[in-house]
Amino acid sequence: MSKIYNAIFAAGITFVLACLMIGVKLNTEGTTLTVSGASGEQWSWIVGGIVLVFLAQLFADRIDTLFGKLPKPKIGALLPAEEKRATLKPWLLAALIVGLLVWPFMVSRGAVDLATLTLIYIMLGLGLNIVVGLAGLLDLGFVAFYAVGAYTYALLSQYFGLSFWACLPIAAGLAATFGFILGFPVLRLRGDYLAIVTLGFGEIIRILLNNWTALTGGPNGISGIEKPTLFGLEFTRRAKEEGNVPFHEWMGIDYSSSYKVIFLYLIAVILMLFVVYVINRLTRMPIGRAWEALREDEIACRSLGLNRTIIKLSAFTLGASTAGFAGAFFAARQGFISPESFIFIESAIILAIVVLGGMGSQIGVILAAIVMTILPELAREFSEYRMLLFGLLMVVMMRWRPQGLVPMKRPHLELNQ
């Protein structure tokens, strides 16, 4: 009996949710506001929804048992045994890297470009992963460091004509400095306070970039940012500077615009591999262990004599420098940047990538970045529903697999008995 009450209650709730917000439309006729009922079709959807909720609640246990009967796919079972994996790993990695490098020559330009964008998000995700996933510091303003990196390259290239390669370390360094300056005072704060302060910092950086028209061009942004060169070879149809030879002339082949896109992609791959390598090594070093230890139990860490300020700061600074890296590359790929590209929702997406992937897990973050950038592209046909589905996916993922796509595994050593 209580089941029926439950079901009636749920159906009632659905009715309240839907009747005004979907069932009635606001219009304006002239200057007065009027309402009109939704079309019959929409009402039949609403009624259908209510009936569905009613039935789902009524037979909730049966549905649950049905789902329980479905075999759950286990990732562990698909992988070869532990010992085999160890020997296979270097080969797999090598194959993967070769695949990454060769792949762009086979596919279309749009796909390569999308892959480049994905790689930027992978770098950002990996950077935030240090801060959130490993050190457990909730940062909602990560996009600020990304902006710092992007603007560093754009401004240095515009005002001083520095090349991409010279700016890359400067951008990372400057973003790290910003991370350090922000981190120093605020890392004393507790989790959620830290979240709101970093969120505020992200907004401050964006508004300053927008307001400081004399230097940053304000809302006009900076356009015509130089593309990277390969040891001085440009990827343009004609050389921009006297005496320079474009890549295709040097090679003695016809000009094709795809070269530039592929070249950018290859740079992104190399940067991404570099970031993966550095972070991978760091997590095995004492400092990386200290991050995780601090995340698990701060008080225990302090009583063991670890300096929490230095540990937190190092995580914050390293994460920021990775974002700076990604930012400089983003500016180079885009050729045009403006404050619009560095809004809060970007921070939220990067955070979603980290959590979706499984906090702390590098492979997970990489997978999640791929999912998050490719899914919206695939869902372009439903472009109206894209953001709706994006939000829904975040909720559903957290319910279904809160530990992320690939939960983190600590690197560990087993002693043979």
């Binding site: 709730i13 439309k25 605020v186 505020g200 939220a348 959590v355 909720v395 319910r399």
Partner: protein, 308 residues
Amino acid sequence: MTETSLYLIQQLINGLTIGSTYALIAIGYTMVYGIIGMINFAHGEIYMIGSYVTFIVIAGLMSMGLVSLPIVLLIALIIAIITSSTYGWTVERVAYRPLRGSNRLIALISAIGMSIFLQNFVVLSQGSRDVALPPQISGGWTFGDPSVFEVSFSYMQLLIWLATFLTMAGLTLFISKSRMGRACRACSEDLGMTNLLGINTNKIISMTFVIGAALAAIAGLLLGLYYGVVNPFVGFMAGLKAFTAAVLGGIGSIPGAMLGGLILGVTEALTSAYFPSEYKDVVAFSLLVLILLFRPSGLLGKPEVEKV
């Protein structure tokens, strides 16, 4: 009075009005945080839905020929509270309850997802354009010498102040005196222990979301009438500001939310008054950073005791 002081009074009135509305929305954040320690990121969206429902009901009743403003507003308020509360309740049930007890971040991501979902749900169902309602309550008092500077204080502003004050007072009484309020406080002290003592904590948590959403609906009605415009994106910024206010005042503390809201509102108004107004948000967020540096738990927040 001189022009400078009249001008200052006008800006304080403006600031306190914005601040009151921040405070009303901030309570939703602070109550949820106080009890289950999570940031309900979708709260701003609940406020936005409250505004939409208000507009729908007012427009509907007006077109039916009901013209008595107090009755129309009362009906709009009741329906807005019911709908918003239902949304608040459902959000908790669908997106947060299954995640309770897991990592804080998990719940936060779910909340951000819910916020994006609700915003786009309204975009799809009601369109993304601004919807405008003609002024319902107009007029007010003016004082000061018109040749120097005339200060205006509208009925609507007074209504916002009064509504905020009364809701705050009512809520404080409810929390401190009623049986339910006591249970709420017990939950915020120790959720597990409260449960063991035979209090249905799930019910208390649901109720917290319902009360927070009802306050957001009141804010939605007041702001909807005050500005006369709503679109699906208003909730996000209002939510962000209210969240800032809650943290400023000390998240988890109801008087703190009030104080934080008012400080934030006045700061914004005074910044716009004496500096280029494009720096308003920079100053507001910088103030937050500064206050947290010196009082890491906010103005009225309880300093967290570190326990092993």
